[in-house]
Amino acid sequence: MQKLKDQLKEIIVRDLKLQGIEPAGIEDDAPLFEEGLGLDSLDAVELVVLVQKHFGVQIEDMDEGQAAFKSINTLAEFIDARR
């Protein structure tokens, strides 16, 4: 599971083009959106596409998204349960 979390951090920093943030510096339980990593609704769209592209897992609706996008921990658990 830790490998998946590290992979997610790298994908988020690289593909969402986050500047000044190191993958290793992202806390597993820090919020991804707003006050945490600072992602917004435009990033949410890209994140849905990235999860599909890299892990073959489709996030279908806002209930799934809201639960999965809380933190690296929740996103990794979501992907792990569905692939």
């Binding site: 435009l42 949410a44 769209v45 996030i59 279908e60 998204g65």
Partner: protein, 298 residues
């Protein structure tokens, strides 16, 4: 959902709707159109708010019109909107009622859908957009419509009246991330997602040049298309006669965004393209853009 408060204004409005429905049943579309004229004239005589709300757009569309002509412009705008509402009621109440629609650029829509990347169909508060959506059933892929609560209520009302089956699935824009997750999933399945491009109601936005001023338009649609690789087509409907309308594909493109810090600028470029199409539309159909908001002061 909270219980509706039955204020005198609410009851008066309900009575007005019922009178229109009665006219539609007894005298058809033509009868309701006739009733529309005195009702709107009276409304315009007593409501200062409608003049204020219409003026934001009309003064920009007709900068050389004085107060008297602007009053007439407001009448024509509200009257045209009233006709669209009557048409909706008429189509809903009379099972055999039909409007003749002409789709200009339909082949291009088919080509874009055939690419299998999904399609973001940008539209606006023009013409009778519910009828227009019903007209594009022929695309042979499911159609989703991203809309906020008010539009959703109107759409449901219209299709409940019609035959109980909407030609599209509604994605609520007032949920988590503004419905972007469901929209992304739909595009991923190669489906069509329709979005109103002319009303900013929260979320990401872009400032564009529109009718001689800077206006704020929503930009999530372009981000959605850029992230998923889906094309965007701009589709606007216009009423051309009592029982006829056209739906035209004004433009289509593949939005792309570059570096993160340039994202706002990139999205603005695509929103600007939509604004150009809409401006072309209002030049041709000045009384069919039902905008009663001041986009230029948001």
């Amino acid at each position: 959902m909270g219980k509706v408060k039955r204020t005198p204004l609410y009851l008066l409005e309900a009575l007005g709707h019922n009178i229109f429905y009665l006219f539609l049943l007894l005298f058809g579309q033509g009868g309701a159109y006739l009733l529309l004229k005195p009702v709107i004239a009276t409304y315009l005589l007593f409501s200062r708010k409608i003049h204020r709300n219409s003026a934001c757009y009309l003064k920009r569309r007709f900068p050389d019109h004085g107060p008297a002509r602007l009053w007439l412009d407001t009448y024509r705008l509200v009257h045209s909107f009233g006709q669209v509402l009557v048409d909706r009621g008429w189509l809903g109440l009379r099972r055999k009622a039909q409007l003749r629609g002409e789709l200009i650029g339909g082949e291009r829509l088919l080509e874009l859908v055939a690419e299998g990347k999904g399609l973001v169909l940008l539209t606006a508060h023009v013409g009778n957009w519910q009828t227009a959506l019903a007209h594009i059933r022929g695309l042979e892929v499911p159609i989703n419509s991203l809309m906020h609560y008010e539009e959703e209520a109107v759409a449901k009302h219209y299709f409940d009246l019609r035959d109980g089956t909407a030609p599209f699935r509604i994605i609520k824009s007032d949920g988590f991330m503004g419905g972007m997750i469901e929209s992304t999933a739909a595009l991923g399945r190669g489906e069509v997602v329709t979005i109103m491009g002319d009303r900013y109601a929260g979320g990401p936005w872009a400032e564009v040049e529109f009718l001689g001023g800077k206006a704020r338009l929503p930009s999530a649609a372009y981000s959605l298309a850029a992230a998923t690789g889906a094309p965007v087509a701009i589709l606007l409907a216009a009423k051309t006669g009592r029982r006829s309308y056209t739906i035209k594909v004004w433009d289509d493109f593949y939005p792309a965004t570059g570096a993160r810090h340039d994202r706002q600028r990139d999205l603005g470029r695509w929103a600007d393209r939509f604004a150009k199409s809409l401006e072309g539309y209002v030049r041709q159909n000045p009384y069919q853009w039902y905008n009663f908001f001041d986009l230029w002061s948001q």
